[in-house]
């Protein structure tokens, strides 16, 4: 669907509402080996508005390069749910880095 000025409706509206300079803060929880590698169980991460969980992991790995070795084995949970594909994060979200689990 197109509007009079030729712009597509939908996505650009969201884009217009997004301020590239605005940051959102996400609480990142680290467990098991990820916690030991980083040396902390929680990191408050500031990312650009519109950033996804995958971009948060990339930023976290940039800040804590020790995480690089497990980047391909961790999965992510956002607000207590596993995410199967990158999801946009919001201010105040709780993201967890879930290394391979071993309960039982």
């Amino acid at each position: 669907m197109e509007t009079d000025d030729g712009q597509q409706a939908g996505a650009p509206v969201d884009g217009a509402m997004m301020d590239k300079n605005k940051v959102v803060r996400v609480k990142v929880l680290l467990f098991a080996r990820a916690r030991e590698l980083v040396g902390r169980s929680q990191v408050d991460l500031a990312v650009k508005e519109g950033a996804t969980t995958a971009e948060c992991v990339a930023e976290l790995t940039k800040q804590f390069p020790a995480l690089e070795i497990m980047r391909n084995s961790v999965v992510v949970a956002l607000n207590f749910d596993y995410v199967t594909e990158p999801v946009m994060v919001k201010e105040g979200d709780e993201m967890a880095i879930i290394p391979p689990i071993s309960g039982g």
């Binding site: 467990f31 999965v75 749910d81 967890a96 391979p100 071993s102 039982g104």
Partner: protein, 160 residues
């Protein structure tokens, strides 16, 4: 009153899901699923082993993402109830240092007939190992290793 009783029986008992820092009181969880309408209570006890690939394990340390672990356990119970006719489900997982030979996880399921609770009990432990965010570190005399459940790794491949 009578209608309430019938409704309660159809819905079963509330799930009892605990993550504890001390010894698991197994009797408490069996009693939680005990019911006059149940003809069977099936249980699974996971205990800590003293060896891994010929290495002597000194102790095991567990940690959890508690709120998510409880939510995942709740989802597993809902799934189990959709697959089998169950009355009560109780799951307890222990955290912290667990000495060798002690219980790390306990599951109790009750049903009218035994097949439902036996099958559900197996399903619940398999799902727990695949998706409940709990981690175990094995400490040896010459090092330590964070364990990885095969059930989780198989599912992670599907996820990515």
């Amino acid at each position: 009153m009578e209608r309430e009783a019938v409704k309660k029986m159809k819905e079963g008992k509330d799930d009892v899901l605990d993550i504890v820092d001390t010894t698991i009181d197994m009797g408490k969880y069996v009693d939680a699923v005990r019911d006059p309408g149940a003809g069977a209570i099936s249980t699974f006890i996971g205990t800590t082993r003293d060896t891994f690939q010929n290495k002597e394990v000194i102790e095991l340390q567990y940690e959890a993402y508690k709120p998510m672990a409880i939510l995942e356990l709740k989802k597993i119970c809902t799934l189990a109830r959709s697959k089998w006719s169950l009355i009560g489900i109780a799951v307890a997982h222990r955290l912290g240092t667990v000495p060798i030979g002690e219980e790390s996880v306990f599951i109790a399921v009750s049903s009218v007939h035994r097949k439902d609770s036996l099958d559900a009990c197996q399903f619940i432990i398999d799902e727990l190992k695949a998706r409940v965010p709990i981690w175990k570190k094995e400490v040896y005399s010459n090092g330590e290793v964070w364990k990885e459940n095969a059930e989780f790794l198989q599912r992670a491949q599907v996820r990515s």
